[in-house]
């Protein structure tokens, strides 16, 4: 088991004929992902990376039984692409696109609420279930199969954390980059909930960053319901306040946005806090050893 995606995932790629779309589709297939269809309006009937291309998600889903979508379309059209996938009722929609206008995401998130569909992203590295399915842009070779779930608002920090885990022989179940934008499809606390119910996940590495209140939400859930150890690193402890550090979510707005406030909330909820980004693997190793889970 795992969460969101696995061996049975039949992946569709929106924007498959674009430069990144085609490169990353090839990487997904090389990793062993079952990519069943691509969508690029106007290119229906062609093949890309050995996969049939359709004009619409509806056609692609009807003919291939796709059950997840990976989106690479440019930012101005990303909202359109997500809603198109939602209209086709694909249960898992993963949007890699960076730079989507926030108010587009406000409408998308509102539309998806209560639909039962899961959007991951945008502005994220995607999702990978080690050894089974890569639906994203991450370097597949740093991941290894095991029982630690990983959640991160930042893409490259997923790779950093996972590389440290793998180097210590600690495998992962599923790794989810939820995205760095202010409004995202699925917040970290919802991924925690899934990991809590996943028998294959024995512990979770939660990587947060300054800005917003996602870590406090997660802390509340961890304190109340989480039955598995949580190891957490918060990026940006040394960032000067008030400066925007790339991610819109990384604007320190009020006391809740600081790394110190997030660390405190998580610590009080029982999470293990990693101070240095270079120690994520080491601390996880120690926690797993103490809890005798691996």
């Amino acid at each position: 088991m795992s969460i969101l995606i696995d061996k049975s995932t039949r992946l569709l790629v929106q924007g498959i004929t674009g430069k990144e779309g085609s490169f990353q589709t090839r990487r997904c297939i090389e990793y062993g992902t079952n990519v069943v269809a691509g969508v690029t309006p106007g290119r229906g009937g062609e093949t890309a990376e050995g996969v049939p291309v359709f004009d619409t998600v509806k056609q692609a889903a009807a003919e291939t039984n796709a059950n997840a979508s990976l989106i690479f379309v440019p930012a101005p059209f990303a909202a359109d692409a997500v809603i198109e996938a939602a209209y086709a009722e694909l249960p898992v929609i993963i949007c890699i696109t960076e730079g989507v206008p926030t108010l587009d995401m406000v409408r998308v998130a509102r539309f998806l609420r209560g639909s039962g569909l899961t959007l991951i992203g945008p502005n994220c590295p995607g999702v990978i279930t080690a050894g089974e399915c890569r639906a994203g842009i991450m370097p597949g070779n740093v991941f290894s199969r095991g029982h630690v779930g990983v959640i991160s608002r930042s893409g490259t920090l997923v790779y950093e954390a996972v590389a440290q885990l793998t180097a210590r022989g600690i495998g992962q179940s599923t790794c989810v980059g939820v995205g760095g934008d202010p409004v995202i499809g699925t917040r970290p606390v919802e991924i925690l909930r899934r990991f809590n119910q996943d028998a294959d996940t024995h512990a979770v590495v939660l990587i947060g960053e300054i800005g917003g209140s996602a870590e406090q939400e997660a802390a509340e859930y961890i304190g109340a319901e989480m039955r598995k150890p949580i190891i957490s690193f918060i990026a940006g402890a040394t960032a000067p306040p008030g400066r925007r550090m790339g991610h819109a979510g990384a604007i320190i707005a009020g006391a809740a946005g600081t790394a110190a406030a997030k660390q405190q909330a998580l610590r009080e909820a029982g999470a293990f806090i990693v101070e240095s980004p270079a120690e994520i693997g080491a601390v996880t190793d120690e926690v797993l050893h103490n809890f005798q889970v691996r």
Partner: protein, 392 residues
């Protein structure tokens, strides 16, 4: 993107948010003319992007055109220091000359995106005119919030609820409803990230006006708002940051330390800064090079770092996902061959196309310091910067 107060007010006025009568002046003579045209006592307000202007001497009153010209002369050309500018302050290039208001009450009204529920939230308070963050921290019950669902929009009951919470009634409440509706429409139609009126003033004669206004815009949505993009004032931004943007690097923030950083991804960039600090060093900047697959952009990143005289060592930390490590390595090589890199360079590479990147660096025979992981990279960069500083 930020705009000036006068630009924000022009925009809001177009959405039926009442603002004081006023004119922009770029010389003291123009300030006199503006005062004359208004024909009433005026306030002369420095136009810079930072807040807290009044305390720094950037807002002055004038009873007549003579005084308006004189105080405008005092304000224009000054390096205005506020709690938001940093100690060096910001040069004042223009002022807004506005009718003085007979203030009876100062309220607060704003809209931001609440990321916890993914909706715009309107915030209103009867305690306007002062530092609203202090009010929010000390007396949160005085800030009234209402989430607005974009599928239903801003409705009159919302305005009544917030207006009454601010203690408004009768005609002033009616005016407040119109102002809230206008603020929401402006926020939505112009893709704002923040729309704030502080203070929202009720005058002695019962008029409701936006005495100050602040609009920030979503950079990601500027492509569909040419009118807003044209309002950008690069004079208000750090010259190195502007240069970085022109060279294709959108996420560069200059800091005060001496270790220049080039990292892919905002989170890893922040984590790299954290690692440098924990190793006893001080980062010179935040630089997220993005999902770069262009050699030129890496070379440009080096150009920006070497333009900062404080930089005594450079740390390259790239974990390739969508970005390809071989492209980054080629950029590091080209930048050094181009010359101008006179400080030690520490390189940590990992991820997509790593072997090819390693081979390129190896074959270049350039004197880069190689690091095996993040902790190693931070230690080596801190050590290199210390040695460079000692050698000076």
């Amino acid at each position: 993107m930020k705009v000036h107060e006068f630009q924000a007010k022009q925009l809001l006025a177009a959405y039926s948010v009442p603002v004081p009568r006023g004119q922009v002046a770029e010389t003291p003579r123009q300030a006199r003319a503006a005062s004359q045209a208004l024909g009433v006592p005026v306030a002369v307000k420095a136009q810079i992007h930072a807040g807290g202007r009044g305390k720094g001497g950037g807002i002055k009153l004038a009873a007549n055109p003579d005084e308006a010209e004189r105080v405008a002369g005092e304000i224009m050309g000054m390096q205005l220091v506020t709690h938001q500018t940093g100690p060096e302050g910001q040069l004042v290039r223009r002022v807004l000359v506005e009718e003085q208001l007979q203030v009876a009450r100062e309220l607060y009204l704003s809209i931001v995106i609440d990321s916890s529920n993914g909706l715009p939230v309107m915030m209103a308070s009867e305690a306007g005119g002062v530092d609203i963050e202090e009010v929010a921290a000390a007396t949160p019950e005085r800030i009234h919030r209402l989430a607005i669902d974009p599928t239903i929009g801003f409705l009159p009951f919302m305005g009544r609820q917030l207006g009454m919470a601010m203690g408004l009634s009768g005609d002033v409440l009616k005016q407040a409803l119109a102002a809230m509706d206008g603020l929401y429409r402006a926020f939505l139609e112009k893709d704002c990230s923040l729309a704030e009126i502080n203070p929202l003033v009720v005058t002695a004669d019962g008029r409701l006006l936006a005495a100050d206004a602040k609009l920030n815009f979503d950079d990601n949505a500027l492509f569909r708002h040419g009118d807003i993009a044209a309002m950008r004032d690069k004079d208000e931004e750090d010259p190195l940051e502007v240069q970085a943007q022109e060279l294709g690097i959108p996420n560069y923030v200059k800091l005060t330390g001496n270790i220049g950083c080039v990292v892919n991804g905002a989170g890893l960039a922040m984590a790299t800064m954290d690692a440098i600090k924990l190793a006893g060093g001080d980062p010179a900047n935040f630089l997220d090079i993005g999902t770069v697959n262009s050699v030129e952009r890496v070379v440009n990143a080096f150009r920006i770092l070497t333009a900062d005289p404080n930089v005594q060592a450079i740390l390259i930390n790239i974990f390739g996902g969508m970005a390809r490590v071989d492209v980054i390595a080629q950029g590091v090589i080209d930048a050094q061959r181009e010359g101008g890199v006179r400080v030690p360079v520490v390189v940590r590479l990992a991820g997509t196309n790593l072997e090819e990147g390693e081979r390129l660096l190896e074959e270049s025979k350039l004197p880069v310091l190689r690091a095996s992981d993040l902790g190693d990279a931070a230690r080596k960069a801190v050590e290199a910067a210390k040695q460079a500083a000692a050698a000076k």
